[in-house]
């Protein structure tokens, strides 16, 4: 049983008939994900790869049961889709869109927290437990990146995740579950909030964090470890060590001002909590071998 989605998880796809939604839903199914039903307003009665499409989450849930929802709608419609999923009683939601308005992100997080739901994203590739289930967009067909294993991964990035995961695999390990929390200033779920799930997950032996400059998510992980909330070994890669101050490089969250959110600060906090940090992707191999015992 993977920690977010599994072969048994019944997944609803909101925005299933859109170009991206249809493409990735097909891939999700191919990978083994149990897609229960799809939702696209106005398209009830259509189907995609045998999955029935409904006007609304409520209509879909009249005919099907669902444990999670995968949202493939444009950024301006994500808030409404999340609220619709919550209204339907769904408490595990993945949203990948890039460009969700900040105020919408705040409303999403506030609404989700008030009903105990977990919203992953946006601006992420989603969640994958290689070989079991995928909610999002991953090149799972590249075996040198997405091999099943015992390393949990949490990431704020996209392409860099492929890069680092390739190192995990080339070090002889594999991935239990990869959670892309995304690159937004206000993501639905923060690194530290996933730690209890990874702690409880028998399939995860260690966790790799792929962070970046800006924000405080990495510092929160260090704090959770210091507080004893997470006890498994952790390694971290955080890009932007040489980034100049005040320049916004990349994601919304990736800006450093006045020393806050600097990579140096993050590395210091993490190392103080016993986390091994890699300053370049290839070092991740050494970290993992040291933490988990070396495969050559």
């Amino acid at each position: 049983m993977s920690l977010f989605a599994d072969t048994e998880t019944r997944v609803l796809v909101q925005g299933i008939t859109g170009k991206e939604g249809a493409f990735w839903s097909t891939h999700m199914i191919t990978m083994g994900t149990r897609v229960a039903a799809g939702v696209t307003p106005g398209k009830e009665g259509q189907n995609l790869e045998g999955v029935r499409v409904y006007h609304s989450v409520r209509n879909a849930l009249k005919e099907h049961e669902a444990d999670a929802s995968m949202i493939f709608v444009p950024p301006r419609f994500v808030k409404d889709a999340v609220f619709e999923a919550l209204d339907g009683g769904i408490r595990k939601i993945v949203t990948v869109a890039e460009g969700i308005p900040l105020h919408d992100a705040l409303e999403i997080r506030s609404a989700a927290r008030s009903c105990g739901a977990q919203v992953i994203g946006g601006n992420t590739s989603g969640v994958i437990s290689p070989g079991k289930a995928m909610m999002g967009m991953f090149p799972y067909w590249i075996k040198r990146v997405y091999t099943p294993g015992t390393v949990g991964i949490m990431t704020r990035s996209g392409s860099l995740t492929n890069e680092i995961t390739a190192m995990v695999v080339s070090a002889g390990f594999g991935v239990s579950t990869l959670i892309g929390v995304g690159g937004d200033t206000v993501p639905g779920t923060r690194f530290a909030e996933m730690l209890p799930s990874f702690e409880a997950d028998p399939e995860t032996e260690a966790v790799v964090i792929i962070g970046e400059l800006g924000g405080t998510m990495e510092e929160e992980v260090a704090e959770a470890i210091q507080d004893g909330i997470f006890t498994k070994p952790v390694a971290a890669f955080i890009g932007g060590r040489t980034a100049p101050e005040g320049k916004r490089m990349g994601h919304a969250g990736a800006i450093i001002t006045g020393g806050k959110g600097s990579v140096q600060g993050k590395v210091k906090a993490l190392e103080a909590a016993g986390v091994m940090t890699a300053d370049r992707p290839s070092r991740m191999k050494d970290c993992l071998r040291e933490m988990l015992g070396g495969t050559p």
């Binding site: 991206e20 950024p75 969700i100 308005p101 900040l102 105020h103 992100a105 705040l106 409303e107 997080r109 506030s110 927290r113 590739s125 967009m137 991953f138 090149p139 067909w141 590249i142 990431t155 704020r156 990035s157 996209g158 392409s159 860099l160 995740t161 492929n162 890069e163 390739a166 690159g183 200033t185 206000v186 993501p187 923060r190 792929i210 970046e212 400059l213 924000g215 405080t216 929160e220 890669f237 890009g239 932007g240 060590r241 040489t242 980034a243 100049p244 320049k247 490089m249 990349g250 994601h251 919304a252 969250g253 990736a254 001002t257 006045g258 806050k260 300053d279 370049r280 992707p281 290839s282």
Partner: protein
């Protein structure tokens, strides 16, 4: 997008937050503007950077001659094209108020202090007890009692408290209305006559929502460099530096990692450019932007999912053919359809690399003049 002071002040003024009387003026329009505003008055460079006072970009002038000479001095500073000419306020006290959000708690937050006019992050660090922090439920909005609480907690009384509470409420409303990331008044001035007025005005609008506020368009002044502006118009994240290697990489995380690797390797970066995500079909434009720099090598590193490797490889090949770059192009293109990408690059005579760190080493070497490629 951060607005210029004069733009933010117009928004604030329309939201009924008092601002000083002011007029914008180009270098040649200062005399007229000063005549309109009256003397003494204040000249303020309309640039986005902070610390304008210390940088000599704000000047109180008492005569027309002084106004003209100060205006020409300020406008001679690179990047200064516009002044805000404002009435001079006799200031009794400077406060600080702002609306922002806390990513951790996902709450809207009002920050305020009796001790404004200074760098507020320093204040927060050195005297956190002087900074008032009031969280606001995003669905219910800022309540009147909260605004009053803030004003009284700042130690204000009477009319000053009342006016400040009102300003905080209006600042909150415009924060929501304008999809702002930050709305800030520092200093919020109490004048000698007891009026509360926004001395400065900062408003940062969520880039995701700029289309909802078409009155604010991105302008060259928003950028340090004209190429950055051009890239932004194309939606391509781009930052100019002074080094040798033009990065053309996929994704913020990977590009930043490559940026680090170049420096670890002893190299320097000419530009940061994200060629990936929604821009993965824009190889031509991306390479064009890289070629604007006097860089010595172009380094392409990708590891895409949706951004298909074959499409990107073909784009690079086409761009090389079309633009005939005068410098080596190093390619490390992986991810979806990477086998086809290898084929495409090889046929075009570009060596397909697979290891990011190896690609960086090659680039640094090439920039140093070592002919490796």
């Amino acid at each position: 997008m951060k607005l210029f002071e004069y733009q933010a002040k117009q928004v604030f003024s329309e939201a009924k937050i008092p601002v000083p009387r002011g007029i914008t003026a180009g270098p040649g329009e200062v005399t007229k503007a000063v005549g309109n505003i009256g003397l003494p008055c204040v000249l303020k460079a309309q640039v986005l950077q902070g610390g304008r006072g210390k940088a000599g970009l704000i000047s109180v002038v008492r005569t027309e001659e002084e106004a003209v000479s100060e205006a020409s001095r300020i406008c001679s500073v690179p990047g200064v094209n516009l002044l805000l000419v404002e009435e001079f306020l006799s200031i009794q006290e400077e406060l600080f108020v702002s609306v922002t959000c806390s990513p951790v708690t996902a709450e809207l937050v009002i920050l305020a202090s009796r001790y404004g006019g200074i760098d507020i992050e320093t204040l927060a660090e050195e005297s956190p007890e002087k900074l008032i922090r009031e969280p606001v439920d995003i669905f219910r909005g800022l309540q009147g009692f909260q605004a009053r609480h803030i004003a009284y907690a700042m130690g204000l009384e009477g009319q000053a408290a009342k006016q400040t509470a009102g300003i905080i409420q209006r600042l909150f409303s415009l924060y929501r209305e304008f999809d702002a990331e930050l709305a800030e008044i520092n200093p919020l001035c109490i004048t000698e006559s007891g009026e509360v007025t926004a001395g400065d005005a900062k408003l940062v609008i969520d880039d995701s929502c700029l289309d909802r506020h078409p009155q604010f368009t991105m302008r060259p002044e928003h950028f340090d460099d004209p190429t950055e502006y051009e890239a932004a118009l194309e939606g391509i994240p781009y930052l100019k530096f002074d080094g040798d290697i033009s990065l053309m990489c996929a994704g913020a995380g990977l590009t930043t990692a490559v940026f680090d690797l170049v420096h670890y390797q002893g190299g320097t970066v000419a530009n940061y450019l994200e060629f990936g995500g929604p821009n993965y079909r824009k190889a031509m434009k991306a390479m064009e932007l890289c070629l604007r720099n006097p860089s010595k090598v172009i380094l392409v590193v990708t590891f895409g999912t949706i951004a298909r490797a074959d499409v990107m490889a073909q784009g690079i090949v086409d761009a090389v053919r079309e633009l005939k770059p005068d410098r080596p192009v190093i390619t490390c293109i992986r991810g979806t359809h990477e086998e086809e990408a290898v084929e495409i690059l090889s046929q075009a005579g570009l060596e397909p690399l697979f290891d990011t760190e190896e690609a960086v080493r090659r680039a640094v070497a090439a920039a140093a003049g070592e002919v490796h490629v």
